[in-house]
Symmetry: C3
Subunit: 319 residues, 3 copies
């Protein structure tokens, strides 16, 4: 693997899930591959899970990490080309090129601004980073995608439903209310990964005007009726996102969309999923999040092995 | 050892001090136990000594660490249960549960707010952390206690006075002036630890209305007369704290309480102790801090071995 | 080597350059020397290259690092002696003495304030740090010098021009415009290092009143005519600095001093050098920085081996 920007960089989704599950059973067995390797973790935005799970994944591989919080630890970065840099201290090109020199893999987080849809959906910033980088780049959440999260998510589903043995299951990605306009990356990426797994039947449910960008939800059944969606569901994945059509806007904040115990009863005793952090009693009721059917911590734990299998694949391709 | 919240989690104080002193002589001899272990260091508040000495202790054990500065690296944490999380991004329950997944020991620092005495003295926040955590938790200073500091402190005294051979010594914990209301944790914890060592005769001296909470200073002779206290002292431990009775208030800022060269002459050539950071010429005169009898750096050095023996005991109990 | 404050701490500049070049070929071969050693990296100011390249250098040696951002991770530091510390929380003396206890080498960055020339040029702050420290101190950029940068710079030149075989070359250090008053450390230090290498003929070019402090540019030909300087140059090192004579002031912001493609044509197909970060189209035109003759990334890469050879020399002298 030469980079990990999206599911498209994975040759076979089934295989990578199996390998991640195996790694979880024996996490320290590849330290000969990670030895003397350095993974640089660069954050343009805050992080808890991604920051620490990637460090843990690198430790498991016997690799070193460094962490750089752009804007706080270092300099103001110029993103545009050709400017006279009166107000910025370092151009992205130099920043990325230099960080390249000090690591074997460069993992980067850059959130969207949710203002200019074309800029975000063309992944202008991340594509620049990819073009400037000579070492493999790993997407720790870009403007439109969060593939490490999605790999952990499908791995978690695989641990519960043996879709490897062809058993079908119904997964619902449900929009839920929030006070701030949020990126689409978790939802986009989840939808994109699930579409590679035949045994999973995905339904998206959201208020009108909250449809996801069709490229990532291609062929997925979307309904504006949450109750209908929940019927017979095996997994409910809750997530807020801002509007794609009315880009970055909050068009609905209807509490009725919150995931409640009552709604979970419509389902087929569904497992509850969320990528975290989650706002309790806004996105989901306490009683759902705290119930035995909540598997949000399994998802969080699998973040380690999702990162680790990707780092491992890349390190193996280096040698 | 399954957790380290206070001295009460230590089976035998004499033994742990001896083991810490032995570890100092041979700090790298337990790397087979620390291998592939990860110690998470979580700071709700700033830190210099604790931050770095815990990292060094983990290095000595051959373990990895990650450091998370809550509020800065990650998200605003909700501390209350049942709230609709309009203003906070992640609940403490998820934050702790997730951090658990990425480490073998979770060490946490949370200062008191010094506003609500019951909240602080019931250790509401730290108890929540303990209840949410499935991995062993280490107290890197909570609302009322700082046991890693105290273990380093008694270890330092033990290096000077062989109380293992039953020699008695007099230790004075002296209040000293400060401009800001400070927590009681260092004083409480020191008093609590010393009370476990028969050979040490502790005297507390402070202005009226500055008595420590009796649970931690049970049976300790307290006097409002600093000069009387200093008479024949072998160790003077200086520390400011705010009032317990008039909770969190500064009732006295009398410079007369500063530890001076003149006062040290009353003592039995006492060693001068402080946990650092210390405000010079407010808490203590330069000439005392810079004298050969000042052992503040030995205390700081022993912070490594205090943390290391605790981490080691916990790691040993895991396997 | 017992400390690394400037080139004067290096016994033989030719030897250290050769050793750094050899280390680059085989960076992991000294891990037996770095094992169980800890390098503390202390930043009073922001950093990207220095921060990460020093971590990488330590990793290469098999050593641990901790990073402390003063003022952000820890406490406000008192720099003056004898003060009643009403507004500061910890004196530099304790901060340095304590950090000493937790590492084998202490690397420190402290920028000048560019207000009081005597304070800066007497290196008052760094000299205090040196005097307080019992472990070897490495200068990661002080008020007047940046020797790790300079070692990387001369190493880079050596990789292009075999001055070890007595071939002469012409190097030009050219002032260039900037919006903010910048330190002199990179320019001072570069000049000081180059002066130790007989085969390099250094010319400094800058506007009037921008002459560097003569101690560091002793015997170096300085001209206010940039075009004249560029004639037959083999290397152009661009750098802004504020005035030394009119201390810390910006006296000129003439765009004519920017390094352009047109000016590079005057040279002997010179390599373009800069320490980074660089403001594009202010200090240097895009087309020069992006040309094949730009060797700024080689300089940045060599920062690893400059730090690593210095850390190695110091660690070797410890045992």
């Amino acid at each position: 693997m030469k980079r990990f920007f999206s599911v498209e960089d994975v040759i076979n989704v089934y295989d990578i899930i199996k390998e991640a599950i195996n790694l979880k059973k024996n996490p320290y067995c590849f330290q000969h591959i990670g030895k003397n390797k350095t993974i640089g973790l660069v954050f343009f935005n805050p992080s808890l899970r991604t920051r620490i799970s990637c460090q843990k994944a690198a430790f498991n591989l016997g690799s070193n990490t460094w962490v750089l919080n752009i804007h706080r630890d270092s300099w103001n970065i110029e993103m545009k080309d050709g400017n006279v840099m009166k107000d910025t201290q370092e151009h992205l090109k130099e920043a990325i090129s230099v960080m390249n020199l000090y690591c074997d893999i460069l993992a980067v987080r850059t959130f969207p601004h949710l203002i200019d849809r074309d800029y975000d959906y063309n992944e202008v910033l991340f594509n620049k980073i990819l073009s400037y980088s000579k070492v493999p780049v790993v997407n720790m959440e870009s403007a439109t995608l969060h593939p490490l999260q999605s790999l952990a998510d499908v791995m978690t589903i695989a641990e519960f439903i043996p879709f490897f043995s062809k058993k079908k299951c119904k997964v619902v990605l449900s929009w839920a209310p929030h006070v701030k306009p949020l990126p689409h990356s978790v939802a986009n990426s989840f939808s994109q990964w699930i579409s590679k797994i035949e045994e999973i039947d995905l339904t998206i449910t959201c208020p009108e005007q909250y449809d996801l960008y069709e490229e990532f939800s291609n062929g997925v059944y979307t309904t504006y009726n949450q109750n209908e969606a929940f019927l017979n569901a095996d997994f409910i994945y809750a997530k807020n996102w801002s509007s794609y059509i009315n880009y970055g806007k909050i068009l609905c904040n209807n509490n009725d969309w919150m995931i409640t115990e009552r709604k979970m009863k419509i389902t087929n005793k569904a497992k509850f999923m969320h990528c975290l952090p989650v706002r309790r009693n806004m996105v989901v009721e306490d009683s759902v999040l705290d119930s035995p059917n909540s598997i949000v911590l399994q998802q969080a734990e699998n973040r380690i092995y999702a990162s680790q299998i990707i780092f491992l694949k890349i390190l193996q391709s280096l040698s």
